[in-house]
């Protein structure tokens, strides 16, 4: 955390309201995001208890598992979830635009451009918190290896159709969420925490209710009071008035409300199974329905506040203008989405449990590159982020006080003007350190020549983007009196060294992965939890 955001945090404490830590929005927000507010059962590895899901803030779809230990009910939940998520995903898969991609021609080995499809837009999933992202990944893992009755008639407990497909998509969303700057799957607490700093610690910012209370406290209260209430206030029944954003539930809710309700449901079910005649069964079915309705009401009461909070967070974020380079990063998300769509259409098997060495190395390299790209782009889009980089000596801004024309030596002298910048910043400039400024969205580089007046005046030599002629193109060289901002970090990221194809994996890294084998589904046992 930079000193600037620390200072903002302290200001938030003294003003009682969150302070901005960004002046633009650094993440893409689609027109029609799918909000997913899941709950799980404590102690079971992500066994769903229920969820609110949908794209319409006024009409969420409520999904509930009245007895989380029951395999059939769990499957019914996942099938219903697939009915909501998959049509949503499909609706983005159809509209495409033409795009170009460079590929290596298998025959000539040359890099050639090929025409490919790129989806015009991509789906976007929003969950309340980081734990929600983990659950999406876990649900994906639990479903993608399942077999449906159609795929394998012998399989015990076949999964409903489309459930394995949902698993593959959720896995993709979960994987993509690990790429810095991506927006296919976002956690609301992370995005809000990126744009505002509160008067509490980052640990406490993980509570969505408290975080929102700081950013947008109700009339007449300070953020601190509202956050404390969101965190701790309990009603007469001992229940939190602002339930945790999940997926874990509050133990007091489990013990006092949910457990008795599930027990009533179980009793009603046993009674129904033991019914001797139709009339009795009708009565008992009524009792079962009532018990189920009660659990649904309980789940709704714990998810609806979070659902509303997520949409309120979206409203707050939409008030910020989108950063200039956010669109470019979203295009990468669209590529990622299109790529997975194509893999599914091509009938490729689900993502393996463990990546082979080359895929894993590629993923890590991508994440590192995207992290560097995100840091550079956020600084260029947002003066407040740039201020942090200036403070740490990675950038400097100032006024041009002098421009002197100079030329490179050689047969065809090219312009290499010297510019003098007066700055209050203290960049870490060494001999011939390269610096960059944004010129019409493209980076122009210069090198450090000399510092005068104890570092307050910096002389730079501009190196490129001035055209081919002897005279620099108009506007390509700053003029006296211009405000300029140079960075010491590069604006665009170069790809790293190319890795071998998976078939060429050296023995030091496990050798070629061999024939792709269809991974077996998890063995089914009596006490499966998911």
């Amino acid at each position: 955390m930079s000193l600037i955001s620390t200072l903002a945090r302290l200001e938030a404490v003294s003003t009682g309201r969150a302070q901005p830590s960004a002046t633009v929005r650094h993440r893409h927000l689609g027109d029609r995001p799918l909000v997913f507010v899941p709950l799980t059962t404590a102690g079971e590895a992500g066994a769903p208890l229920g969820a609110l899901v949908g794209t319409d803030r006024d009409a969420p779809r409520l999904l509930v598992v009245p007895q989380p230990r029951d395999r059939d009910l769990r499957f019914a939940f996942l099938a219903e979830l697939a009915d909501v998520v998959l049509p949503y995903v499909d609706s983005y898969a159809e509209t495409v635009e033409a795009a170009e991609r460079t590929e290596t021609d298998p025959e000539t080995g040359k890099r050639v451009k090929v025409e490919v499809e790129l989806c015009a837009d991509a789906p976007q999933l929003i969950v309340p918190s980081r734990a929600g992202i983990d659950l999406v990944r876990l649900l994906g893992r639990s479903m993608r290896f399942r077999r449906t009755a159609e795929q394998d008639p012998e399989a015990p407990y076949p999964a409903p159709p489309r459930v394995p497909l949902l698993g593959r998509w959720l896995t993709h969303f979960g994987e993509r969420a690990r790429v810095p700057g991506s927006s296919l799957l976002l956690a609301m607490t992370d995005v809000l925490g990126r744009h505002w700093v509160t008067g509490q610690s980052t640990l406490e910012d993980q509570h969505l209710g408290a975080l929102l209370a700081w950013i947008d406290p109700p009339e007449g209260t300070t953020g601190a009071e509202a956050a404390l209430r969101a965190e701790l206030e309990r009603d007469a029944q001992g229940q939190l008035t602002c339930p945790p954003a999940g997926p874990a539930t509050d133990p007091a809710f489990d013990n006092k409300l949910l457990a008795p309700a599930i027990e009533r449901y179980d009793r009603a079910r046993t009674a129904l199974a033991a019914a001797e005649d139709g009339l009795e069964a009708d009565d008992r079915l009524g009792a079962l329905t009532a018990a189920e309705r009660e659990i649904r009401a309980l789940v709704l009461s714990r998810t609806r506040p979070t659902w509303d909070a997520v949409w309120r967070g979206l409203d707050l974020l939409r008030e910020l203008p989108e950063g200039a380079r956010v669109e470019e990063r979203w295009t990468r998300d669209r590529w990622s989405f299109t790529g997975h769509r194509d893999r599914v259409l091509a009938g490729e098997p689900p993502q393996p449990r463990r990546d082979d060495a080359v895929t894993a190395a590629n993923k890590l390299a991508t994440r590192e590159r995207e992290q560097a790209r995100l840091e550079a782009q956020e600084a260029l889009d947002d003066p407040l982020v740039m201020a942090g980089r200036r403070l740490s000596g990675e950038a400097f801004a100032g006024e041009v006080t002098d421009v002197a024309m100079a030329y490179s030596e050689g047969k065809r002298p090219s312009p290499r003007p010297l510019i003098t910048v007066r700055t209050d910043d203290r960049p870490h400039l060494g001999e011939r350190t390269k610096v960059y400024r944004s010129l019409g969205g493209k980076p122009q580089s210069a090198e450090f020549v000399a510092a005068e007046e104890d570092g307050a005046v910096v002389v730079l030599r501009v190196l490129d983007k001035m055209g081919r002629g002897k005279e620099p193109e108009p506007g390509s060289v700053p003029e006296k009196g211009d405000r300029v901002c140079f960075t010491l970090f590069e604006h665009e990221q170069r790809g790293g060294a190319k890795l071998p194809d998976p078939e060429e994996t050296p023995w030091t890294h496990g050798g070629p992965p061999g024939e792709a084998t269809l991974e077996a589904a998890d063995p089914v046992t009596e006490e499966d939890v998911l």
């Binding site: 620390t6 200072l7 002046t23 639990s142 610690s201 640990l203 406490e204 007091a252 201020a387 403070l391």
Partner: protein, 390 residues
């Protein structure tokens, strides 16, 4: 050198007074151990844990109840899983220990599973010690101790610990077993949870090592082993790889993994050694201080205030008293309540008002690098926000 007996008794009595009349001592549980690791410098936590005060009850009496609780679903499932792992005289558990840690030994068949029931923690500790001696007298046999009780000296007062299981290998070495209900998914588990389990196991290993050293140091024949006559009993080895047993993937089947806890053991040993001696803290308390939850809130608050705390946000997940300490820390405007990294950045400035005054240029020495950096940061931030408004 152990402290003189009288002094130990005096301390025990003093701690009982702190706890309040007729309040039973609370054993040091996993959460207290985690808090120990998270915040070793907190005198308040040290004395309260050392005296066996029930901090949850204390926090409620102070009006800032802790938010810890366990869902009965988690409890039921955790117990069911542990019972399953230990079923059949621990056959499955021993198979896992053999498979993961000691393949060269005889496969565990007909292992001894002694009964460890006794009254009170002291009785159970003695019973555990007896059975460990007994196991040392039966080389070549596997022994499973189900929920043994161990004593560990924490800052001058004994803490009682209850590992899930301890296994004695045929070669006489001991292994700590931790049974947890978070899943081992495709061979990997949540690193934070594994770390917590490893820290917990490290404390058990330390307690066992103390016990082993004691057994080894005893004169021959005293070990209660007829067969060991004439040979000196060397101290049993406590293995530094523990066995972590978790449900596999999405099932209830046990899967196990050996976890190397040397690092956690070294860290915990160091922290235990540098804990302020509880008697020193107790001596510094005013006469008549008592933490009994029966007392009125004001008296309790005063008693709690008489011991300094070092609150940091990490306490929220480890200590029952954290909400109380947090509200005090916020009232005092301490910057640490925003996180330890924040505190580290601000040099000698410790309160919110000091920092803001220094940033505004109203106070502070401009030659102080921390103050200069703050003013620069404030100017840059103002400039950027102004630019954004335009």
């Amino acid at each position: 050198m152990p402290p003189p007996r009288t002094r130990g008794t005096a301390l025990r009595q003093r701690l009982a007074e702190l706890r309040g009349p007729d309040v039973p001592a609370k054993a040091l549980d996993a959460r207290a151990l985690a808090a120990l690791a998270a915040n070793p410098g907190c005198a308040r936590r040290a004395i309260l844990d050392g005296a066996g005060v029930n901090k949850a009850a204390l926090a409620s009496a102070l009006g800032s109840p802790s938010a810890f609780g366990q869902s009965q679903f988690a409890l039921t499932r955790g117990n069911a899983f542990e019972a399953k792992v230990k079923a059949d005289g621990g056959a499955e558990l021993l198979r896992l220990v053999h498979d993961r840690l000691d393949r060269s030994a005889e496969p565990p068949v007909g292992a001894r599973v002694p009964d460890l029931t006794a009254t009170g923690p002291r009785g159970r500790t003695a019973r555990t010690e007896l059975e460990l001696r007994e196991a040392a007298a039966h080389p070549g046999v596997w022994t499973l101790l189900d929920h043994p009780m161990l004593a560990l000296d924490v800052a001058g007062s004994p803490a009682f610990l209850e590992p899930d299981a301890v296994v004695v290998h045929p070669d006489g070495s001991w292994t700590v077993v931790e049974i947890k209900s978070f899943p081992l998914l495709d061979g990997s588990a949540d690193p934070a949870k594994v770390g917590a389990a490893a820290r917990q196991a490290a404390v058990y290993v330390l307690a066992l090592e103390e016990l082993a050293a004691r057994l080894g140091a005893e004169p021959e024949g005293d070990a209660g082993a007829e067969g060991a006559e004439g040979t000196s009993v060397s101290a049993p080895r406590v293995r530094h790889r523990i066995l972590l047993v978790c449900p596999r993937d999405f099932s209830n089947q046990p899967a196990a993994s050996a976890v190397d806890i040397r690092k956690q053991r070294a860290v915990t040993a160091r922290q235990l050694a540098r804990l302020t001696r509880i008697e020193d803290i107790a001596d510094a308390l005013p006469e008549g201080t008592c933490f009994s939850p029966e007392l009125p809130a004001e008296a309790l608050a005063e008693a709690v205030e008489s011991v300094p705390a070092t609150y940091a946000p990490e306490c929220l997940s480890a200590c029952e008293l954290a909400f109380h300490c947090r509200s005090r820390s916020r009232e005092a405007g301490a910057v640490t309540s925003l996180g330890r990294p924040v505190r580290a950045e601000l040099g000698g400035l410790t309160t919110v008002e000091d920092v803001l005054a220094a940033a505004r240029g109203e106070a502070g020495d401009p030659d102080d690098p921390a103050v200069a950096a703050l003013r620069r940061a404030a100017a840059l931030r103002a400039e950027a926000l102004e630019a954004a408004c335009r």
